[in-house]
């Protein structure tokens, strides 16, 4: 409220000074074009009067053109604002004639006063201030396209007993400003479950919970950091976090489209991702390999399999006798898939419009889009041998000869007038050209078998000094934050461009990015930093925080931890884990789970059909990241719980709460089978009372309350009786299964607090 009043007061001040300004220019000191005038042009005029858009033939971005004027007449008469059409039009009373046109914000009196004064003072426009490309000009100012900058840590307030880490200082500063306090730390039991799901995608076992609770009581910080360290060292970490990246990479095990042929070797890319994460491969190298691993280490299976990032999109090989236009459409759609995945997935930049035309809000021009196409135009996905002799599925250039690439105006692939050279988007290029990178790459490889354009691109995209490295780092740090908190610091993780959302904590993000890059692009270090913060360790419920709930209902200032729903895979893995039937076998070809005939009905699939009678046994009870994803036959339980269709890069999953999810929990064959296994495991351990206690410990990392215990006992008793009355075999066991299945539907099971 205070700030609003303040703004209102400022406005009054502005208005009153500008009233003076209108009385005559003498009230205003010397006007500076760059400081005072061009920003107004930029904000209000360049959309229509700059670059290729010169409405009424007027361009206000280039001095010579601006002084010449437009169709109507001379716009600026130096020394005489009264004779200048520019002033006339911005002060016009008739809204049909006034500029900016109706629907846009009119210039303020102050801005008009500045225009007048500037013209009366001679309309000085110093050299070197022409704006040839307003899109680029605007983007140049945008926060995410800047080079990295050092961020000082906020000072710790004398009253701040809460902040433990640098992250906390940033968060705390913003909370303090809004008069909101953080929430109490989460209890040990809440925390242990949160840490396990976050890093391993699994619930803690009762024993793991017990141990943590004991250690936490002695020293919470040490207990937490050592658990985090252990989990980061475990194979489960890579299995958990690979899934996040595989969404971005739109990874699946079949080709999609009509034939949806299996890609029996695609899993090598999935395994590469898991391994790279587990080994804490520096993220810049992780990216370079995915773009051009074969051009860096042609003798390394992993490096080559990494290019699965480029091959994971959908594809369909049309026969050569099929009509040419269709084959071209297909080919350029596939290249578009690569370019847009690189754009949104790696750089947080949409290329959506540039395929057809220059768009004033896009970061990339159409030419730059086709230059990116060119990087990948000389190769395609290949099934072949890896250096070790194993079968692989990877990207490969046809040979060392770059293929001609054209700028297809309006994406007309028969428009072949404009050839494009290798080039990288200008707004994240600083003093180094694509050719510099390319020459460099070529100087490092003798007798190349590929064009090395991808390697040049990979160098540029990870180059913090001269290329897109800073942006690349900002995008991944924001993604990591998102998976820890449910939302990124920028809540549009696939768009850090001019239309994306502004960061909630810009200084914090910049600090984390700087630290990340400085310390070798290590994700594990970033995880540790985040998980050791007080911000992340807050409780998820704070009913007392009524002010916070009112001022910041979306929790953008991080005054509590928001509960997160388990993703489809984590939900399935958690059911298997608590039932004691999760098979931890890692790596290798994906398993195909049973899919009901109602959902297993894609027609015209070529090659191997999806099995009709897959067994539910240990071989199909592996972690979900190893499940074979057949694009046209998605696994129904996953589909219900918002798993993306993996046709395009996905940066943020949907989070719906719909009846089909409930129907899956209630009626799905697999869920019932796992409930029975869970029940079996529980009854082995003793009587109903201890079974219930063990169930709560496994599923929720806590003891049941007395009420819960009695309620549960009564339920099991009632179900056992009614099943016995129906003369069912194993009535008690089924009753326990009824109980276990109900636990799977509880909020406490489906969400992490």
């Amino acid at each position: 409220m205070y700030s609003l009043t303040l703004i209102a007061a400022c406005n009054i001040l502005l208005v009153s000074t500008s009233l003076f300004a209108q009385n005559g220019p003498t009230k205003i000191e010397q006007v500076d074009f760059v400081e005072d005038i061009q920003p107004v042009f930029r904000q209000h005029c360049y959309e229509c009067h700059a670059g290729n858009t010169e409405k009424a033939e007027l361009n206000l971005a280039i001095r010579a053109k601006a002084m010449k004027g437009g169709k109507s007449s001379v716009a600026i008469v130096p020394g005489d604002s009264h004779a200048s059409l520019l002033v006339e039009r911005v002060t016009e009373v008739d809204v049909d004639k006034r500029m900016p046109p109706e629907g846009k914000e009119p210039l303020s009196s102050k801005e008009i006063g500045l225009f007048r004064a500037w013209i009366d003072q001679g309309a000085k426009w110093p050299d070197g201030n022409d704006v040839a490309d307003p899109r680029l000009d605007r983007a140049r100012e945008h926060w995410s396209f800047q080079r990295l900058r050092d961020v000082p840590l906020p000072e710790k307030l004398a009253t701040d007993t809460w902040s433990k880490t640098a992250i906390d200082l940033f968060a705390s500063a913003q909370l303090h400003e809004s008069g909101i306090g953080p929430s109490e730390p989460a209890s040990a039991r809440i925390l242990v479950r949160r840490i396990y799901f976050d890093l391993a995608g699994l619930p803690p076992t009762p024993e793991q919970t017990r141990q943590f609770v004991i250690e936490h009581a002695i020293d919470p910080a040490t207990a937490t950091s050592s658990l985090v360290a252990n989990l980061l060292d475990s194979n489960q970490y890579g299995e958990r976090w690979a899934r996040h990246w595989l969404d971005v990479a739109r990874y699946a095990d079949s080709a999609g489209q009509e034939a949806d042929q299996d890609r029996p070797h695609a899993w090598r890319y999935r395994d590469f991702v898991i391994k790279a994460l587990n080994e804490d491969m520096p993220y810049d190298e992780f990216v370079r390999w995915q773009l051009a691993g074969d051009e860096y280490e042609p003798e390394n299976d992993q490096a080559i399999s990494a290019t699965g990032f480029l091959t994971s999109g959908t594809s369909f090989k049309l026969n050569d006798n099929f009509i040419e236009s269709e084959r071209l459409l297909n080919r350029y759609n596939e290249l578009d898939d690569i370019v847009s995945t690189v754009g949104t997935g790696l750089l947080g930049i949409t290329t959506g419009c540039a395929r057809c035309h220059d768009h004033k809000y896009d970061a990339f021009s159409a030419r730059e889009y086709y230059q990116l196409v060119r990087v990948f135009h000389s190769g395609d996905r290949t099934t072949g041998k890896l250096p070790s002799g194993s079968d692989g599925f990877f990207f490969k250039d046809f040979d060392a000869e770059p293929r001609t690439t054209w700028l297809f105006r309006r994406s007309d692939f028969y428009d072949r007038e404009i050839e494009v050279e290798l080039g990288f988007p200008a707004l994240v290029s600083f003093d180094r050209t694509a050719d510099d990178y390319w020459n460099d790459a070529r100087s490092k490889v003798e007798e190349p078998t590929s064009t090395l354009q991808r390697r040049a691109f990979a160098e540029w995209i990870t180059d913090v000094e001269h290329g897109a490295g800073a942006l690349l780092a900002r995008v991944i740090v924001n993604r990591v934050w998102q998976h820890h908190f449910g939302h990124g610091i920028v809540r549009t993780p696939a768009d850090l461009g001019v239309r994306g959302e502004a960061p909630s904590h810009p200084e914090l993000l910049e600090y984390l990015v700087g630290d990340f890059v400085k310390h070798g692009w290590k994700l594990k270090r970033l995880h540790r930093k985040i998980l050791s913060s007080s911000v992340w360790q807050q409780g998820s419920s704070n009913p007392a925080a009524t002010l916070a709930a009112r001022v910041d209902p979306q929790n953008r200032l991080l005054w509590k931890m928001a509960p997160q729903r388990l993703e489809a895979e984590a939900l399935r893995d958690a059911m298997l884990a608590v039932s004691g039937t999760l098979n931890f076998k890692a790596g290798g070809p994906g398993f195909k789970p049973y899919i009901q005939p109602e959902a297993n009905l894609a027609r015209n699939i070529q090659g191997e059909a999806y099995p009709q009678d897959a067994k539910d046994d240990a071989s199909t009870r592996r972690r979900s990241v190893y499940m074979f994803h057949k694009r046209l036959i998605p696994y129904p339980l996953f589909q219900a719980f918002d798993r993306p269709d993996l046709m395009n890069s996905c940066s943020q999953r949907q989070n719906t709460t719909v009846a089909p999810q409930a129907m899956a929990i209630l009626n799905d064959t697999f869920v019932r089978a796992v409930s029975r296994d869970f029940a079996k495991r529980l009854t082995e351990s003793g009587d109903d009372r201890s079974a219930i206690q063990n169930a709560f410990a496994a599923a929720f990392a806590r003891e049941p309350t007395e009420t819960e215990l009695t309620t549960s006992l009564a339920f099991i008793e009632l179900q056992a009786n009614s099943r016995t009355k129906r003369n069912e075999e194993g009535a008690r066991h089924e009753a326990m299964a009824d109980f276990c299945q109900s636990l799977f539907g509880l909020n406490e099971f489906i969400y992490v607090d």
Partner: protein, 474 residues
């Protein structure tokens, strides 16, 4: 039957549906909105997007002509010149070679239609001798004869006719419609697909929600057995058992709810279980065709083995929209994909669909449902005027026909033309975007304002194009 109930939401965080003004304010499109979004940051747009996973009914942009849609999808692509758009010039030039390129190569000469035609109704619309029952309804229909699309291949073309783009993974028209309007009955899905019994070419992406929340994806109903996946209880589980489970869950959720008194999502999830429980009864009920009279069954041709399957689906479609489902798509069985013997293929498919489609129109009219139900008939593209393999025709996305009937449609009209042999749309060309714009318009939605922010841009069903075909509207 439960009445539509606005207080019980199956999902979503919104406790009350947004008012129309709210919605426009928060998620409108157009240059002004984009500028505003860039000024304010995307948060408002995003917040709106995140709120909108609900199927709760919502007001359209402007008063709607149609409340619901039944889309009779003729998979495999029927031939316009052999069904509704005879070309005398084609007959005249039968046997002539052309330079037309065909999808599968191997182009033959021009081929006249194997069928004979008659004019029907007040409007004098031509219909072939295989579709004489549908022909009785021509005065209810608007024929759009100049459609064109981009792909020569079935699956991309099916994706395009459904989603506007010849690529998988984008929200389909039914998903956009339910996203825009919600649905009238919360105990049934808002968008139902009665699929091709031979399976789905291109898979569930044909009715997918793409990047829209999955609540808007089409739900595949089977015409036999349990209509929806997981609708049937497991063996050995009775309704009583399940009721007891739900009651247990409600009690055990208590402890957690106490910790999160304000989090509406948790309450919604409990509601979703209750809804699932009710759906088991209601969905089973809606597909129980034994409740229909024998006369009705005859009207739809379910008594005839040739038309039984499609008749059953058409009858089910009527029951679904009658019960408040927003959007129903009815796939034909097999394919109208007549590469070899068009006469044989089309005769077969006409027999399968003629009585059911005519029956549906009659029934909808008799029940007063045609006034607010839009019926669409057509395939993913059309067929070539030249022959293939002797008596067949290859794919043709350059010019084809769709018809619409019912709510908001000016009956007995015709719009656009292909050339004299039916190869390319030449007059008043209609793109898939135009078809979609018209469809949304009839539902009271402005296709330029129905947007969704995803991966850095605002998407529309009509991408950056689309014009409503006002000439066919009443």
């Amino acid at each position: 039957m439960n009445k539509p109930n606005q207080t019980v939401f199956p999902c979503g965080r919104v406790a009350a549906p947004l008012s129309r003004r709210d919605w426009l304010r928060r998620a409108g499109s157009g240059a002004g909105m984009i500028a505003m979004a860039s000024l304010l940051g995307q948060e408002k747009l995003l917040a709106a997007a995140q709120d909108r996973t609900s199927l709760a009914p919502r007001l359209p942009n402007f008063p709607a002509k149609a409340k619901s849609v039944i889309w009779l999808f003729m998979e495999g692509a029927p031939s316009s010149v052999d069904m509704f758009d005879p070309k005398p010039e084609l007959t005249k030039r039968h046997g002539q070679q052309t330079d037309i390129k065909a999808f599968f190569g191997n182009p033959g000469p021009l081929m006249k239609s194997p069928f004979s035609f008659k004019q029907y109704g007040q409007c004098g619309q031509w219909v072939c001798d295989r579709y004489t029952n549908v022909a009785k309804h021509v005065d209810k229909m608007a024929f759009i004869k100049s459609c064109h699309s981009e792909s020569n291949d079935h699956v991309p073309a099916i994706y395009q006719i459904n989603s506007g783009l010849p690529r998988p993974g984008f929200p389909t028209a039914g998903a956009w419609a339910t996203y825009g309007l919600g649905s009238e009955n919360q105990n049934l899905p808002g968008y139902v697909v009665l699929g091709n019994t031979k399976g789905a070419k291109g898979g569930p992406h044909n009715w997918g929600s793409g990047f829209l929340p999955s609540s808007y994806a089409g739900t595949l109903f089977r015409s036999q057995g349990a209509p929806i996946l997981n609708l049937k209880r497991q063996p050995m589980i009775t309704a009583g058992d399940q009721r007891a489970q739900l009651d247990l869950m409600a009690r055990l959720n208590d402890e957690h709810m106490k910790r999160h008194p304000d989090d509406v999502e948790f309450a919604n999830r409990m509601q979703s279980f209750e809804l699932a429980y009710r759906m088991q009864t209601e969905a089973a009920d809606v597909v129980d065709l034994s409740q229909e009279s024998e006369a009705t069954h005859r009207l739809y041709g379910t008594d005839n083995p040739r038309s039984r399957s499609y008749g059953t689906k058409c009858l089910m479609a009527r029951r679904l929209i009658e019960n408040g489902v927003r959007f129903v798509q009815v796939y034909s069985d097999g394919e109208w994909d007549a590469h070899n013997d068009l006469a044989e293929n089309h005769t077969h498919h006409c027999l399968a669909t003629d009585i059911p489609v005519a029956g549906l129109l009659t029934d909808l009219e008799q029940r007063g449902l045609l006034d607010d139900t839009l019926v669409i008939w057509g395939g993913e593209f059309g067929r070539m005027p030249i022959s293939q393999n002797g008596g067949g025709r290859d794919h043709n996305p350059n010019g084809f026909l769709q018809w619409m009937a019912g709510a908001g449609i000016k009956g007995g009209t015709s719009y656009g033309e292909t050339d004299e042999i039916g190869y390319k749309a030449v007059e008043n060309r209609v793109s898939v975007n135009d078809l979609h714009a018209t469809l949304l318009h009839l539902l009271g939605l402005d296709h330029e304002r129905l947007t969704y922010y995803h991966n850095g841009r605002s998407y529309r069903l009509t991408d950056v194009a689309g014009e409503v075909i006002h000439e066919i509207l009443s």
